[in-house]
Point group: C2
Chain length 271, copies 2
DNA sequence: CTTGACTCTCCCGCCGGGGGAGACTGGAGG
DNA sequence: CCTCCAGTCTCCCCCGGCGGGAGAGTCAAG
């Protein structure tokens, strides 16, 4: 009846939706103008459409996708609407949590001084040692659990031999466990020199790096060391070791310190 | 030297970056392979590139844009890197705050029961009243401040007349202030009936709606009422009023209640 | 030589519009 | 009646950071 038809510009100012957005919503079947002049294509809105426009504006302001706004405005059942909104709330919460995770991660990065790429690789001499050891065949999938049990076994053996650990436990990778393949790893715990019945571990010159964080983020540390070795023209000469400098039982995963050592041939400017 | 060139698939698994991503980073000049076969186009990476790849992965994990990662990895000054990271942290914080705002807004929406579109319009009779009033010429830009001062003036006048307010203050829009245009508004405070020297406000049948929230979000309420009037075939017959049901001095903006009344011709099924 | 697993380039899609080109049109003034 | 200007139209490209897939070429093992 009342043909107070409003052109798109004025309707845009009324609804605080951009002209582009209004045209887009028209194309998406979300908010069709009351009339479209077939000759000129001009869109004419009615004052009463401002309510729907406002609802759309509000829902877009909480980042509800266009399609879901269309669905939501389609049904009148307030309970269903509540359910849709709640579903979206969960999405927003998830996104919020993700953003928080990112922010915290970034703050950790900044705290570390932005040592993104080259947490210092150092060269050092590792003296020979007597170790209690067990060799296991594992894949990257089973390694965590197997290592836990293995160290338990070793500690038991040390105890029955009347000795005690004198340094941090470590692990020797005799095979490359690059991607899902199986391989041998040797679990070691140093014991007092000369304790009979245990293996003698030779000393070595190693390129070393300390990784801080959960075990499953250690791969980059390996790549950094191997990359460093290559770039500095050194030659690897033995299986790498991983030394557990603190205890996962008492320290948060973020604080875990793990040293990665790659034996290399001596020589070069070992500072 | 060491020509341990790694094809893209293996490097992808090593670095936990998708093949698509690696190709993209190559195209963006972010991580070029050590060698590209000119004949086949095959990309070959070197183990040492895993460190840079890892840095990229980490920085992408905190959603730093590609271009800025390139810049950041370009310069070695750790202080500058820290500054760039901090700048990004501020961006993340801003985004987080925005997400939180959305979530809180959505929760408010849900609490209200999802009355997005039709906060109930009611028809009612407004009795005549005696009011102390002042008429101002304002635009939408100046209205907030002008109304504040105007009500101060009126309260002063009421005091000197020995009367006192008996109902919520309101405002009559004699002109449409649709978009930046100037117009006359009348500020009114009801006083006891028959107080001499004040204006008599006629009664009316009105379509009414209550808006909850900040004043500057009130436009949609107007549109809902005018839309309702149009859809229900009623006829507007006078300037609209805005009644301030609670006090912006003592109530948070989100809790403000403002009633919008549009006089309409009597008749119809006034429930 | 064949086979199968990799890899290449190129193009489209996403999401919600923004920016701009080039062509029309509605209403007001003369 | 014409003119003029602001408003409007459609169409196309752009944003980010890849993912998906087509169609073709390539490497290594049997």
């Amino acid at each position: 009846m009342a043909d107070d038809l409003i052109p798109i510009g004025r309707f845009s100012r009324m609804s605080r939706l951009s002209i582009k957005a209004l045209r887009f919503y028209d194309a998406q079947g979300l908010l069709a103008p009351a009339r479209v002049d077939p000759a000129s294509g001009y869109r004419w809105y009615r004052r009463s459409q401002a309510a729907r426009a406002e609802a759309i504006r509000v829902l877009r302001a909480v980042d509800l996708p266009i399609g879901e706004i269309r669905d939501l405005l389609g049904d009148d059942d307030p309970e269903l609407i509540g359910k849709r909104l709640s579903a979206h709330r969960e999405r927003l919460r998830a996104r919020l949590a993700e953003q928080e995770r990112m922010l915290r991660f970034l703050e950790r990065l900044i705290d570390r001084g932005g040592n993104l790429m080259s947490p210092e690789v150092t060269v050092k001499e590792v003296p020979p040692a007597t170790v209690a050891s067990v060799t296991l065949r594992v894949s990257l999938v089973t390694i965590g659990e197997a290592v836990q049990r293995g160290f338990g076994t070793i500690i038991g053996a040390i105890g029955t031999a009347g000795a005690h650990p004198i340094a941090a436990p470590f692990l020797v990778y005799h095979d490359v466990l690059d991607e899902g393949a199986e391989g041998e790893v040797e679990l070691c715990i140093p014991v007092p020199a000369g304790t009979p019945g245990f293996r003698e571990m030779p000393g070595a010159t190693v390129a070393s790096i300390v990784h801080r964080g959960p075990y499953d983020e250690i791969a980059p540390a390996y790549h950094v060391v191997t990359g460093w070795i290559e770039e500095n023209g050194r030659k690897p000469c033995g299986p790498p070791r991983e030394i557990y400098l603190n205890d996962p039982q008492t320290v948060a995963p973020d604080e875990l310190l793990t040293e990665v050592q790659f034996p290399i041939e001596p020589g070069g400017d070992d500072r």
